[in-house]
């Protein structure tokens, strides 16, 4: 599709496209591509296209010899920019589907050719770029699902499915409904196809030894985990991370150090954030509170330090980082309340939780915290736009189920506070305080949770049942409750190790400073 900006393409732009094409196909230099992708593209966008689309692929095709794969990458990059600076219409959203289909079809075709060839790979894309593509792919899928559900509800509200539509029906609703009724609209952003592309990329990435396909495979796993979480399949969300966490393969590129799959994820901060946040939500929903706290707590501590030192403020999307940090702190507030243990999160984070969410926690207001920290769940169902039918509010369902899950928490908290006062107490006395013997069993049962055996790597498989309670109790002759403290784990060694490592790094940096006058 030609745009108004096609008529006169600035020279700076053609040079940029030429250099980018060279870095993707011929030179394949990481630093060069990083400069072009991370700096020059945003500079040019600000200068020429702050509220206009970039020229169409046809307008710059001569700069890349009409290479269809590069043109597909260019189309995605410029579409992503337009999607961010404009208010996308239904047509834009539908065009987005074409953009990603074209790109992934081309990419998968070239990947298959590359796999059977021994010569230099045909393509190199930065890890950051590969992640941005896949992240945006799922973001646009999520946006389309929300748009589709809202449109269906609006059409229903204005009687557009009946013989007598409301004359007050907004024009854009009528127009969008007509678009969605077209035959080819039925498969646009269908969840099966979205998943198919991600699964194919994971499959190719885990088998290949070519960096670019490995990057796509790794980040397809991260985005698949996000997608599964948005669709409320928390088990699959965690399972999707297996290709990264259980991988033994490494990524080898001539101008970069050898890295494991986990290190590649850590090298792209937004990918690490996405992985951690969605795994945290999944652990919370699957009642694995300690794993959720371990996962999210360590990243929050890192981000807290990063904001203080200014390291994270330099990132191009620092506003978004603050937002995500706040959501993760709210998630930790829930987890630390449900699983009150010492040292579950670092003191600095515990302080932030108290300051930001102390009031909500005092009132056991989990709903407020959950609605703030949870992602915008979506329904993958494509409604029939020719007739009325039931609409499913997936978001509300998740909130309701979470409310049910935590409904007994205030009872458990009260019971726990009584148990903390005694080393043994008669069941009758406990009952006279308003507690229930069944609650003792239920508390113990609910807090007996799966916990990853390796706290650094969340896993569904490598986990065992452990108590997440900070007290231990048992009943004798169903008359007396005996209480003692739970197994304690001193954390001094971790603190000592991290401080030693930090001091070592500071010393190393200090030694590297040139002090010659």
């Amino acid at each position: 599709m030609a745009s108004n900006t096609d008529a006169c393409v600035p020279a700076a732009l053609t040079d940029f496209v030429f250099d980018l094409y060279d870095s993707v196909t011929l030179s394949q230099l990481t630093e060069e591509q990083s400069r072009l992708y991370n700096s020059e593209f945003s500079d040019l966008s600000k200068k020429y296209f702050s509220n206009a689309p970039w020229p169409s692929p046809q307008a710059i095709a001569s700069e890349c010899n009409g290479d269809p794969l590069f043109l597909a990458f260019y189309r995605e990059l410029t579409h992503r920019h337009w999607h961010a600076v404009s208010r996308p219409t239904l047509r834009d959203r539908m065009e987005g589907w074409d953009v990603y289909r074209e790109l992934f079809d081309e990419l998968l075709m070239v990947a298959e050719d590359d796999a059977s060839s021994t010569s230099q790979p045909k393509l190199f894309i930065l890890p950051q770029w590969a992640f941005d593509i896949l992240h945006e792919f799922v973001y646009q899928f999520q946006g389309f699902c929300q748009f589709r559900t809202t449109l269906y509800a609006s059409a229903h509200k204005h009687n557009l499915f009946s013989g007598e539509p409301s004359p007050k029906a907004p024009h854009h609703v009528v127009e969008n409904l007509a678009l969605m009724r077209q035959e080819d609209a039925a498969d646009v952003w269908s969840v099966e196809t979205v998943m198919y592309y991600l699964q194919r990329l994971v499959a190719i990435g885990t088998k290949s030894s070519v960096p670019v396909y490995q990057y796509f495979g790794i980040f397809a796993s991260v985005t698949m985990s996000r997608l599964e979480c948005l669709l409320a399949d928390y088990t699959s969300s965690l399972q999707s991370l297996a290709p990264i966490l259980e991988a033994t393969a490494v990524v080898t590129k001539a101008d970069q150090p050898v890295m494991t799959f986990s290190e590649i994820v850590s090298s792209v901060f937004n990918a690490r954030l996405s992985l951690t946040y969605h795994a945290g939500i999944s652990f919370l929903m699957l009642r694995r509170y300690k794993d959720a706290a371990n996962m999210v707590g360590s990243l929050c501590s890192f981000m807290q330090r990063g904001f203080k030192t200014g390291q994270l403020r330099k990132q191009r999307n620092s506003d978004q980082l603050y937002k995500n940090y706040d959501r993760m702190v709210a998630l930790l507030a829930i987890v630390t309340q449900l699983c009150p243990q010492q040292n579950l999160v670092e003191e600095g984070i515990a302080k932030v939780i108290r300051e930001k969410h102390g009031t909500a926690l005092a009132k056991d207001n989990y709903t407020e915290l959950f609605t703030f920290c949870s992602p915008k769940f979506v329904s993958p169902v494509i409604p029939d736009f020719n007739k009325t039918g039931p609409t499913e509010n997936v978001y509300k369902l998740q909130v309701n189920l979470f409310e049910t899950e935590v409904a007994s928490q205030s009872t458990y908290r009260e019971l726990r506070s009584y148990l903390n006062l005694y080393t043994s107490i008669g069941v009758s006395k406990l009952t006279s305080f308003g507690n229930d013997e069944k609650s003792l069993l239920a508390l113990k049962l609910k807090m007996r949770q799966l916990e990853s055996n390796n706290a650094d790597a969340p896993s569904l498989k490598d986990a065992s049942l452990k108590s997440a309670l900070d007290i231990h109790f048992y009943l004798e002759n169903d008359e007396v409750v005996h209480i003692d403290e739970a197994e304690k784990q001193r954390r001094f060694e971790n603190y000592f190790m991290s401080q030693s490592a930090q001091s070592f790094d500071i010393r190393k940096d200090a030694c590297a400073v040139d002090t010659t006058l």
């Binding site: 399949d233 928390y234 993958p380 169902v381 189920l401 069944k438 069993l441 002759n477």
Partner: protein, 219 residues
């Protein structure tokens, strides 16, 4: 009837393909009839297929899947599945009754659980599954009781298991039941139902020391 190996292959190839629906439904039936082992991934895949195409969803199969997950008590399978079942399906029978039973089990309200599970209405497969799973449910409840009780009265345990005598409890031959002494059931001692000594887990992970030493020696 599909075998578990066939199902595994199917799931590896395309877990949520609509073409798997009939095979996965047949496998759910086989699990309900006791002809195939419980397979969480297969059942979850079928729920996902229903999630993607709600018009093809079969509420009786959803109820069977939830009941099979309930029988895995005290695992959290039913919790994970409940997020995938639409609210309107959860509200109508037979899913509503199965979920109510799950809630009672989770709150350890065993006395209320038995009449609720007996009242589950549904097709013959579901009814037979409920009838044939009494012993499995009793075993699971005994396991949960043994987490908290070191010893308990026969009357209390009998009530929780919906049995009338100590003999019926002994007949279950549950590995967590040590003996019946008079009017008491003695559970096998475990770290959960006995006093714990104060244990301090200490020690520095070897990997952490090794990587630090490697860094220092590399200097």
């Amino acid at each position: 009837m599909p075998t578990q190996q066939e199902i595994e292959k199917l799931l590896q190839k395309s877990p949520y393909s609509a073409s798997n629906q009939a095979t996965l439904e047949a496998y759910v039936d086989a699990q309900a009839q006791g002809q195939a082992p419980y397979y969480q991934d297969a059942n979850r895949s079928l729920l996902r297929i229903y999630q993607f195409s709600s018009q093809s969803a079969d509420p009786s199969k959803i109820a069977l899947i939830l009941m099979l997950a309930l029988l895995e008590y005290p695992s959290t399978d039913i919790l994970a599945f409940s997020y995938l079942v639409p609210a309107r399906t959860q509200k109508v029978e037979p899913c509503a009754s199965v979920l109510k039973c799950a809630k009672l089990l989770e709150s350890c309200k065993f006395t209320e659980f038995w009449p609720a599970v007996a009242a589950i209405e549904g097709d013959n497969l579901l009814k037979n599954l409920v009838t044939n799973s009494t012993q499995k449910m009793q075993s699971a409840i005994l396991e949960v009781l043994s987490l908290t009780y070191k010893s308990a009265s026969v009357a209390k345990v009998s009530e929780a298991l919906n049995v009338s005598s100590a003999n019926a409890i002994t007949k279950l031959s549950h590995p967590n039941v040590e003996s019946v002494q008079g009017d008491k059931i003695i559970f096998v001692a475990s770290s959960e139902n006995t006093k714990r000594n104060r244990v301090f887990q200490e020690g520095v992970d070897f990997g952490a020391i090794a990587s630090m030493m490697a860094k220092v020696t590399a200097e």
